[in-house]
Amino acid sequence: MSSNQLLEGLIPIAEGASRSLHVRDVDKSFGGVRALQSCTFDVSARKITALIGPNGSGKTTAFNCISGFYVPDRGAVMLGDRKISGWSPSRIVHQRVARTFQITRVFKRMSVLENMVVPVRRTGLKAMFWDGIQGHERARAERLLEFVGLSHFIDSEAGHLSFGQQKLLELAAALMAEPEIMLLDEPSGGLNPIMIDRLAGYIRELNQLGVTFLIVEHNMGFVMRLADDVVVLHQGSVISHGRPAEVRADPAVLEAYLGN
């Protein structure tokens, strides 16, 4: 089965229905450390946007503000025209904004299938307290696992997968929530070059289906190859924003990375 056939109907994003993500004047401090200062950038719908910057520039803080793990001290995060800053992470996931973590986090003592089913977007008392894993959910999980090459392991304990496989499982599980926007925190971290190629392939295919990506990444080759837009953070503020080639040539970016 081809990739497009595998993903057909799994990521239902209607043409023109995607929403953009807007980060507006966000401040976030931890004690005396100002992790974000008037941070403003946009993540355009159906595009791959990379968020880069030196260590400590505030990338993961921005990510956590978007995904609801932190509440901004000031400013707002907008999904389309809806303010989502201050919402709980689970509520944001139900708005079809899914995320992965910098350090891979899977439920290690749960099976791969159970890992897949946890993020399913369903509410209602009957669904919550009565239904187990439904046939169509298992079928969906099987197709997504096949997409990332893990279908053999569906009934295995997730903790027995290799690190790279756990990364792929995290990606596939996030896709169970039918995300419109995916936030990937250092997806290539710790992966070998072959795995990185595979991951880039998956992201590109999903993006072609209409999934918007915001990727925090240190691997510049990976970023420049994939991203439509690049946002550069330095000391909590955006110092550059544009196409990869433009950003690469920006003196402010070179200075932030290399110093004077």
Partner: protein
């Protein structure tokens, strides 16, 4: 459906039939009482396991709910004349609502902080029971009217009542384990931040788990008050009750449906039988020491509990050694690598 699958689902029917039939075969009063206590502890341990095992939050508030259930049921009986055997589900609901309020605050903490907050709740309820003398009778306690029925049948009544509560507890535990709610609870236990980031409303799930857990403790407390015809702050909030719930669950296997039942059916009869083995004068101390010894042995040699340890030894194959996913170099679409096409 294969015979093995039928057996896996239907096996509890046999012990249940035996337990239902036992009183008809001249079970003496002592054994009836022993089994009544075992059912009570088993039901409370299964209830505790929902918050302590499935969700991973070690609650000491269940003792508070046990005592609160005893008092609420006792007060309803003495002031309103409502019979405890009928009101115990309502008492459970009242205590579950209290658990929702307590959980809303307490479940914002984790680990040792949660343990301390829940212990504080138990002490506060005990303190109130001791000091609101006009309502609770203070340290003198509440004397409850005796049930008006044949004393020979009373033992059977409590036996069957608690057996019913235990069956309900097990059914609820199985239902939760199979539901999306249960999956969410286990996800919380494994990694709460990840669960929240996966769309699990962790605050709501934890509070509901806490409420269900409290319901079983409160119902057991209510029935026990009627069983003793008496409630006082020492009996209703005796720390050993909480210790039993935890040790029984850990011994059997925390986070499993049957572990707490197994732990209760092993530990309670064992500690009761101590009176035959050791001089009565020191039996009380020895049974406390036994709990400590069991706890240490479980922590040292069977951290997963008896059930999981035995399952690992006899039932389950060792974890598979994964072959690397095959990748064809130069494949045009990397996404296809490793698929079983």
């Amino acid at each position: 459906m294969s015979a093995r699958r039928v057996l896996a689902i239907a096996w509890p029917v046999l012990p249940l039939v035996i337990l239902v039939a036992l009183p008809f075969n001249g079970l003496n009063g002592y054994l009836l009482a022993l089994l009544y206590y075992t059912f009570t502890y088993a039901a409370m341990s299964v209830g505790w396991n929902i918050i302590g095992g499935y969700t991973g939050y070690i609650s000491l508030a269940n003792l508070g709910f046990f005592g609160l259930g005893s008092y609420v049921a006792g007060l309803m009986l003495t002031h309103l004349g409502w019979p405890i055997l009928l009101t115990s589900p309502l008492v459970g609901i009242i205590c579950a609502l209290v658990a929702a309020a307590i959980g809303w605050v307490a479940l914002r903490t984790r680990g040792p902080s949660f343990v301390i907050v829940t212990l504080a709740f138990t002490f506060i309820v005990q303190f109130l029971a001791l000091n609101l003398k006009g309502i609770t009778g203070g340290s003198a306690g509440l004397y409850l009217p005796l049930l008006t029925m044949d004393p020979l049948l009373l033992g059977d009544l409590f036996y069957y009542y608690m057996l019913g509560v235990l069956v309900l507890a097990i059914a609820v535990a199985i239902g939760i384990r199979r539901s999306r709610f249960g999956l969410g609870l286990i996800a919380i236990r494994e990694d709460e931040g990840k669960a929240e980031g996966s769309g699990v409303n962790t605050s709501l799930f934890k509070i509901v788990a806490f409420m269900i857990s409290a319901w079983f403790a409160a119902v057991a407390g209510a029935i026990h008050a009627q069983y003793l015809n008496y409630v006082d702050p020492d009996l209703a909030f005796e720390l050993i009750i909480m210790l039993y719930m935890i040790v029984m669950t850990l011994l059997g296997s925390r986070g499993t449906v049957w572990g707490p039942v197994l732990g209760a059916f092993l530990l309670f009869p064992l500690q009761e039988s101590l009176v035959y083995w050791v001089p009565p004068a020191i039996a009380g101390e020895v049974h406390l020491a036994l709990l400590g010894v069991v706890l240490v042995l479980v922590a040292r040699f069977m951290p997963n509990g008896l059930l999981v340890t035995v399952q690992n030894l006899i039932g389950r194959p060792p974890p598979p050694r994964w072959e690397p996913v095959p990748v064809v170099a130069g494949e045009p679409t990397p996404a296809r690598a490793g698929r079983d096409e």
